[in-house]
Symmetry: C2
């Protein structure tokens, strides 16, 4: 019985932790990281400040958890695609599509990349660059396989990777779900434009 | 004689004003707009603070002058291309190329778009949006002519415009002139990728 109770408790804690991150991401995106206090996050959720401190010792840890989780999501999605052993053009199309979808459907999390990266400590910036290299490495692997298979032009890898980031991440700046084009349709357009550009 | 002297004086003033903007753009990009004082700009140029105040009543006016001049440059370059009455695909390629070049060769000015736009007053934000619409309208005009001429696919205009902005503006994030690829070569890659994507 105590095992079940323990599991329930952990599941509940994971859920609350996620709620804290979601609220913080929203508030950071709206007001800027510096302007938001742990008290604001507590108020937004109807929690006490000490309830937040149970999960995170300070605001920087919250920002860091948001950053880590963002990288986790992008890398995990790409890893799932790679596992399927698709032809390189289909694999890259799938990676671009899910990257674009993430930017559009998790706008607040994306905002933090654009605005609050400089608030992360130098030590952690190194971890960020490591995750960035990991993700870029996955794209590079697929692209090189595609060049090998004569599906893609032999473009410099930084141009390839950053054309994908540019088009997909820029969606954060302009795309609003209130518009007439669905996120899926927009993601498909980005895929089509980039894949035509990469085609051998 | 006094006419000549007056012209020389105005030319000198325009030059000094430009130096102030250049220094300010550099410092804003390095340290963030809020952290820079008019005194810092004066010090960077070896001027007195009152020399700066002769040109700009305050720091916000400097930021605004940088913003206006940036839009002027982009719009003027596109206008020069449009004047040539090139076929739409050549015209759009030229606009993309010069947009990409501007981002790469005036990195500090581009940084201000990314980081300091929220420091501009609401009244001036309206002017910014007007300039943005003007520039986007020029791209739209060329693209529609290209669709008409069956050179381009009939993509939604926001997708077209923002794919261009995404790829070109993202150069600010990643491109450094110290790398192995020249700005011109990178601009050409962006042109090729986008134009393949737009091709009918």
């Amino acid at each position: 019985m105590s095992g079940i109770r323990e599991n329930l408790k952990l599941a509940k804690q994971a859920q609350v932790r996620e709620e804290v991150l979601k609220s913080a991401a929203k508030l950071f995106a709206e007001r800027g990281y510096r302007a938001v206090t742990v008290g604001d996050i507590a108020q937004d959720l109807g929690f006490t400040k000490s309830a937040i401190y149970y999960y995170f010792p300070n605001k920087e840890e919250i920002l860091w958890a948001i950053t880590e989780e963002s990288y986790d999501v992008y890398i995990q999605l790409a890893a799932e695609t790679l596992k399927k052993n698709l032809p390189p053009d289909e694999a890259l199309a799938a990676i671009v599509h899910s990257h674009a979808m993430q930017v559009m459907t998790r706008r607040e999390w994306t905002a933090i990349f654009f605005k609050d990266q400089m608030e992360i400590s130098e030590k952690r910036q190194k971890l960020v660059r490591q995750r960035q290299r990991e993700y870029a490495g996955m794209i590079e692997k697929v692209y090189r396989a595609g060049v090998e298979a004569k599906l893609f032009r032999d473009l410099p890898i930084p141009v390839v990777v950053n054309s994908i980031y540019g088009q997909c991440n820029w969606l954060y700046v302009w795309y609003r779900e209130t518009g007439r084009i669905s996120p899926d349709a927009v993601a498909n357009y980005q895929v089509e434009i980039l894949m035509s550009g990469f085609k051998a």
